[in-house]
Symmetry: C2
Subunit: 154 residues, 2 copies
């Protein structure tokens, strides 16, 4: 390799060190939708607590309506564990729109959800909601939910 | 300039064309907090509708609890205009945490808010909430809110 070529390579490496590579955000969007699909399948089956909570980041927070924030994986484990034990509990959601940051590290999604549970008289109650989730790409390369908030629709 | 120097500059430009520059996310975070501070000042004063709605992007959506989504600037103008005319209406919020994407194009923030209004008997009702806002940096360089959702705290 000539000295000129070596110098060009060194310069390229120096320049690359100061900038982030372009990301295929369409591919990342598809990855989030696929992850979300696996998540709603696990959640609506409602059997495997550890699998369900694995889709949240360790430092994630859930903001449920009418309740205090649920912050961190252990609090989420307890919150979801209790939900799954609620008589007649089920959850379903659908994600409509996912927007990924140009660096492919952060994204947000809009969607709607439905919770059902049994009231004191054993009657099924249904709550329809609209939701926002914020997603972060972890060093492992997988997308995790970092924030989860919804409220009642009408 | 020598031929070697010219070649190095051409190579640098080619490499830069394929990557995004690093961003000072701390500076962007501060910019969002400052924008948000100006927003809550305008909103809590409740006088200048056009100023208040200028903090939302043209394609923004508000997800208010117990109501349908409010999508787009014109729907937001009507929604906020009606809110400001509600007897005893006031709004206040505080943003706690802002996370900016590494490319400096997208961010989300957590916070709490408080709405007051008068009920049918003229008595002041207060609703405390927790909130998520999603922010996008516009081509103009200013940050605008693209999604706004909150629910009741307890």
């Amino acid at each position: 390799m000539s000295t000129l070529n070596k110098m060009i390579i060194v310069v390229i490496l120096l320049v690359l060190a100061g900038c982030a590579p372009q990301v295929d955000t369409e591919k990342e969007r598809a990855a989030i939708l696929q992850t979300d699909k696996e998540w709603v399948t696990a959640a609506s089956e409602g059997r495997d607590l550890e699998r369900i909570i694995s889709f949240w980041a360790d430092d994630a927070a859930i903001y449920p309506p009418g309740l205090p924030s649920v912050v961190g994986k252990e609090a989420i484990r307890q919150f979801i564990g209790k939900s799954l034990q609620t008589p007649g509990f089920s959850v379903w959601w659908e994600t409509n729109q996912v927007t990924v940051s140009k660096g492919g590290d952060l994204a947000y999604a809009t969607g709607k959800n439905r919770f059902t549970f049994s009231d004191a008289a054993g009657k099924t109650v249904t709550a329809n909601g609209k939701a926002i989730t914020v997603w972060r790409k972890e060093p492992s390369g997988s997308w995790k939910c970092v924030i989860d908030i919804w409220n009642e629709d009408r």
